[in-house]
Amino acid sequence: MDLSPDAIIYWQWGPVKISATLVFSWLLMALLTLSSYLITRRLSSSPKISAGQNLLEAIVSFFQRQIREVTQQEPEPYLPFVGTLFLYIGLSNILAIVPGFRPPTGSLTTTAALATSVFIAVPIYGIAALGLKAYLRQYLQPSIIMLPFTIIGEFSRTLALAVRLFGNVMSGTVIAAILLLVAPLFFPVVMQAFSLLTGIIQAYIFGILALVYIASATEIQESRKRPKEV
């Protein structure tokens, strides 16, 4: 039994491997993009809207509300990044209950890639908000001695993000597999249902953490600007 979808390789040419991780990722991407396209090509700003538009509006409003609560800023700049993280991870985890579907989030490479994207996004948002100099200066706050720890913190939290998601999703799959061996009837179904909940929670945690990191990089600017304004 393969625990990670990375191990399932459909096609290989040298270092180029088309694994189940990539295939199911593309499937997810296609599903998300196509459904979004189908719904958003007929949008209406009248009181009567389609069910799909209603669903998307509800999801987007939920994102906006969450972003506004966490960052205390306008949600527009952060919405696509955080929203995409949540949708990708959430849908991937939900579809885990579909027989034959291997969630890409169950592979360490995917979670590492997502964590890395957060790792890259944080300085980008920070620099966009503060400017390069001010952003880099915050690594020296409150003292230059803190610089190594701050850098270690940056890396460790990225690693934690990746491993947390991977561990949770993989554990779900592993538990389901073990339970199938021990008690093949009924109990795995309950565990599958439970994994739906943990999957959504993990997606939420990942998104919120990414948001917190980004917010912390931009909020410093706010707190430093305030005394100047006085």
């Binding site: 625990l3 990670s4 990375d6 191990a7 270092p15 180029v16 491997k17 694994s19 991780t21 990539l22 990722s25 593309w26 997810l28 991407m29 998300l32 993009t33 979004s36 396209y37 958003t40 949008l43 209406s44 700003s45 538009q53 998307l56 509006e57 987007v60 409003s61 527009e76 919405l79 696509p80 990044f81 929203g83 995409t84 949708l87 990708y88 890409p104 592979s107 360490l108 490479t109 995917t110 590492a112 890639a113 997502l114 890395t116 994207s117």
Partner: protein
């Protein structure tokens, strides 16, 4: 279970592609529509607020107008009531005046009627008295009395003032010297002759006398020529009395008229 760097890079790229795709097909359109909708709602609310303000303004304006109209209505009502009261008083006073006028007219008419009646009564009674007197004198009258009358008449004729005599002469001349001598009874010869002599002496020798017997004179004698008349008879006395009575009655009527106007 190793770490596949190719898959890692590929997933990183995949995520970036998905980010771009969702930004293009999901977040962009949805946020735009939501913004439009929010703007529409805000615009609708603003419009509703404006309309509410307008409605409140209109309401206030209508309330003010209504108040003004009510005030005007009360004013008009007061005016009309005052006019009605004035008219009522005027009509009442006019009606009172008319009633007073009618009463005055009626009283005057009553007074006139009474006066007319009294006048008619007086006239009638005087007539009756006159008729009775005439009857009595007619019964008393005779030739002897007439002779006395002629005697007195002749004395009076002799004492006739000059202007009257001249007037009589003028009249006789106009009547071709003819003089009518009327008496109630046939005059006795002695009086006849005496009268003839006296008249010829007084009025000229060429005088032609015509003697006539007229019972209407009752008792007495009358000379007449061309409208001039000289008489001394009971009838003339009675006529004079009647004329006096008429005059008295006429003066009493005018007195009544004066009183009627004064009332």
């Amino acid at each position: 279970m190793g770490f596949d760097w190719f898959t890692f890079i590929a997933q990183l790229v995949n995520f970036l592609i998905l980010l771009w795709l969702l930004r293009r097909f999901l977040y962009g359109p949805i946020t735009r529509v939501m913004k439009e909708w929010a703007e529409k709602v805000a615009a609708g609310l603003a419009e509703a607020k404006e309309r509410e303000a307008q409605a409140e303004e209109a309401l206030a304006s209508y309330a003010k107008q209504s108040e003004e109209l009510e005030g005007k209505r009360q004013e008009i009502l007061r005016q009309v009531q005052k006019e009605a009261e004035d008219n009522r008083r005027q009509f009442l006073s006019e009606a009172r005046a008319e009633v007073q006028e009618a009463r005055n007219q009626w009283q005057l008419a009553l007074l006139r009627e009474r006066e007319n009646f009294l006048q008619a009564l007086r006239r009638r009674s005087s007539k009756e008295v006159y008729v009775a007197m005439r009857q009595a004198l007619r019964e008393l009258a005779d030739v002897e009395l007439e002779r006395h009358i002629v005697t007195v008449f002749l004395e009076r004729l002799a004492a006739l003032p000059e202007p009257q005599r001249q007037k009589m002469l003028g009249a006789i001349k106009h009547a071709n010297n003819e003089l009518m001598v009327r008496s109630a009874f046939e005059l006795p010869d002695a009086e006849h002759k005496e009268l003839n002599v006296v008249l010829h002496e007084l009025l000229g020798e060429e005088l032609k006398l015509h003697f006539l017997t007229t019972p209407e004179l009752i008792c007495g004698i009358e000379l007449s020529a061309h409208g001039y008349k000289l008489a001394w008879s009971v009838d003339s006395y009675l006529s004079s009395l009647e004329a006096t009575l008429e005059q008295l009655l006429a003066s009493s009527t005018s007195l009544v008229k004066d009183r009627g106007v004064g009332a």
